[in-house]
């Protein structure tokens, strides 16, 4: 046991004395959250709107004011005919057009029904869906303010219902994604590099020619990165709850359990990579190309899995992050419990067990 502790202490020395790397590892989640949260925000802001209203009346003006006042829209042009709308779309001067029918206000007052046509520039379909939704929301709100008693009668309101993410905040999407990515990066990549470094430096030779048990070598290499991952998990949680205002809807214990399980899978991946490579560069390439890219592209973090071609959807089953992200979304956003992520948990346990078994079998007691 003393061997193990002394080895673990040595590993912490290595990491803590490499100040730059520690800083990068600890700041990475912060930077990623900030990048995703603000710079790469998928939310729609100040979308240019063109308005066509042949009859300028009270209701039309109020709806236009509300749209303009919203942070999502900026009423840029007032059109006089439908040709103006075509031109505005072509020149990129507007992304959304609101076309009020003639005598809009009167129709509303007398028949209780009126029509607005919403035309979106759908070159970016995700964005289009978002701002169409915001626009119809604003219209519905106006209608409700107008007659709080009678709901849902009158104005055209496309029935868009967004479960669990009523404001369609993208943070709900990327927080689980960032978690899935950071853990892989720190556990798999850093662990494999740390083990391979001993091979490269020649110290592995001395360790092998010693009574040190291989499992101790492995455990102590893993330990510091486990701690780092837990710290990063905490950082991401704090940032998402307090800065991004994404609450943890479900049980924190469940979330933690799933995350520890994922860390375990990531560490065993790192271990496997370290047994397959003999240079730090190779370890970095394999974990970079072989892990990061699938995590980003095939986990559902950026592209929805449902929209993938069958083949990629099949491949995505082998990406641990896919299951983890799914579980985190279920627990953190939907507020469901462990019982609802049994499939994810099962897959992760299976992956971890297989990976650990392979890498322990492959861990060599001799050189190359």
């Amino acid at each position: 046991m003393k061997q193990l502790f002394s080895f673990i202490r040595k590993e912490f020395h290595h990491i803590l004395r490499d100040k730059t790397t520690v800083m990068i590892l600890l700041l990475m989640p912060v930077i990623q959250i900030v990048l995703f949260g603000f710079a790469l925000s998928q939310e729609v802001k100040d979308t240019k709107v063109i308005v066509l209203a042949n009859t300028s009346d009270d209701a039309t003006r109020r709806i236009i004011d509300r749209v303009d006042a919203s942070e999502y829209f900026d009423v840029a042009v007032v059109a006089h005919n439908s040709n103006d709308i075509d031109a505005a779309f072509r020149d990129g001067k507007a992304k959304l057009a609101m076309v009020f029918e003639d005598h809009f206000s009167e129709n509303l007052k007398h028949t209780g029904k009126a029509h607005i046509q919403l035309i979106a520039d759908a070159t970016d379909p995700n964005a289009a869906t978002s701002f169409l939704f915001y626009a119809s929301n604003i219209i519905t709100n106006y209608q409700q303010d107008l007659s709080p008693t009678q709901t849902n009668s009158g104005l055209i309101t496309p029935e868009v219902k967004m479960l669990y993410n009523p404001q369609m905040k993208s943070a709900f999407n990327f927080v689980p994604g960032v978690l899935g990515m950071i853990m892989i990066l720190i556990c798999a990549m850093m662990t494999s590099i740390a083990i391979v470094r001993e091979k490269e430096m020649g110290t592995m030779e001395i360790l092998l020619v010693s009574p040190m048990r291989p499992i101790y070598t492995i455990l102590s290499k893993i330990a510091p990165y486990f701690v780092l991952s837990v710290i990063n998990f905490a950082t991401i949680m704090l940032l998402s709850v307090f800065v991004l205002k994404v609450p943890i809807a479900g049980s924190f214990i469940s979330l933690l359990t799933v995350s520890l399980l994922y860390i375990f899978v990531a560490l065993s991946l790192g271990l496997l990579i370290s047994t397959l490579t003999s240079s730090q560069l190779a370890a970095m390439m394999i974990s970079g190309m072989g892990l990061m890219i699938p995590v980003m592209l095939l986990s559902g973090m950026i592209f929805p899995i449902e929209n993938m071609p069958v083949f990629l959807r099949f491949i995505s089953n082998f990406v641990p992050a896919r299951w983890y992200i799914d579980a985190v979304k279920t627990i953190m956003i939907k507020g469901l419990g462990l019982g609802d992520v049994l499939k994810d948990v099962g897959v992760l346990i299976l992956m971890g067990t297989v990976l650990v078994t392979i890498s322990l079998k492959k861990f060599k007691v001799r050189l190359g």
Partner: protein, 312 residues
């Protein structure tokens, strides 16, 4: 097999060991024994197979053929037992550069289930020289200091057999001399030492040596016997123009070989072929002045060159 204890007279036994890397034969049929308490030197240039041999004996790689035992334990079957009782210093400086001197030593002590205090007596003479720098990171030490630290780490568990793979390569002559002094002291404490070196002049400091080239042992014996078996007559020649002297000697058909050796040229002549006087005469004819030719005792390097010349 009940010879698995430290009282067995043979510490290292190596029988018909060979190893190939793809097409290259790194070791060809190596046979030798090292007696307990001996300093045994494996002498030969880089690429001769020294490191491969060390790795087989320290259980790091498997031989393709043959068997080897350390303290009676088989290097393949009983590798765990061997790893408990040997000390190993690989060719490259293999300590943790970002740990301090003391941290390195403590770490290796615990790896071998011991403490610095327990075996301090053994390493005292060596460690005392680096102790003033015990809080310095190993990466910031000079070559000689690193070497002492590495030796301390390899000794910390009081190994019965010590494997030193090229411990003096790239080290200056003064530090090398000191290092060999330390090895002599360790032998007095009963530790068997297998050491490899490309420096031929270190051969005389070993009890027995094996000369190795191209994966083969050229000869195994005491340094004295190897020198004694030198087959040819050896002269040291000097003149005012050493460079021309070498050329002229090479052009003399009766001279078997001639190579620069420090301030003179060592000339080998097959028995009874040529006399000092006739060679002198030949050189005077070629315009050399202040010619000195003296019969001399060969060094290990002369022997190595003679043996490898006949082998290639």
């Amino acid at each position: 097999m009940n010879i698995s204890d430290n009282s067995s007279p043979i510490a290292i036994h190596c029988e018909s060991v060979s190893k190939n890397y793809k097409k290259i034969e790194a070791l060809k049929n190596i046979n030798f024994d090292v007696k307990r308490g001996e300093i045994f030197g494996i002498i030969g240039p880089d690429g001769a197979g020294k490191t491969t041999l060390f790795r087989i004996l320290t259980t790091l790689i498997l031989p393709d053929n043959g068997t080897a035992t350390i303290d009676g334990f088989d290097v393949v079957a009983s590798y765990k037992e061997i790893r408990k009782r040997v000390g190993y210093m690989p060719g490259r400086f293999s300590l943790y550069q970002d740990l301090t001197v003391e941290e390195n030593l403590e770490f290796f002590a615990t790896v071998f289930n011991t403490t610095i205090e327990e075996n301090y007596e053994l390493i005292k003479d060596i460690y005392i020289q680096i102790e003033p720098f015990k809080n310095r990171r190993a990466g910031k030490l000079s070559g000689g200091m690193k070497q002492k630290l590495a030796l301390s780490c390899a000794l910390i568990h009081k190994p019965s057999v010590l494997f030193l793979d090229e411990p003096t390569t790239g080290v200056d002559p003064v530090s090398r001399k000191e290092f060999w002094g330390m090895l002599q002291k360790l032998r007095e404490q009963g530790i068997t030492i297998l050491v490899s070196t490309p420096y031929m002049d270190e051969a005389s400091l070993c009890d027995r040596i094996a000369l190795i080239q191209n994966g083969q042992f050229l000869r195994i014996d005491t340094p004295e016997n190897i020198v004694g078996q030198f087959a040819d007559i050896l002269w040291a020649a000097k003149s005012d123009n050493m460079h021309k002297l070498l050329e002229d000697l090479r052009n003399d058909e009766q001279v078997k070989s001639s190579f620069a050796f420090g301030d003179s040229i060592h000339v080998t002549v097959e028995n009874g072929q040529l006399t000092v006087d006739s060679l002198k005469k030949y050189l005077i004819e070629r315009g050399h002045k202040n010619i000195e030719i003296q019969p001399i005792e060969p060094t290990i390097e002369d022997c190595f060159m003679e043996l490898s010349n006949t082998q290639i």
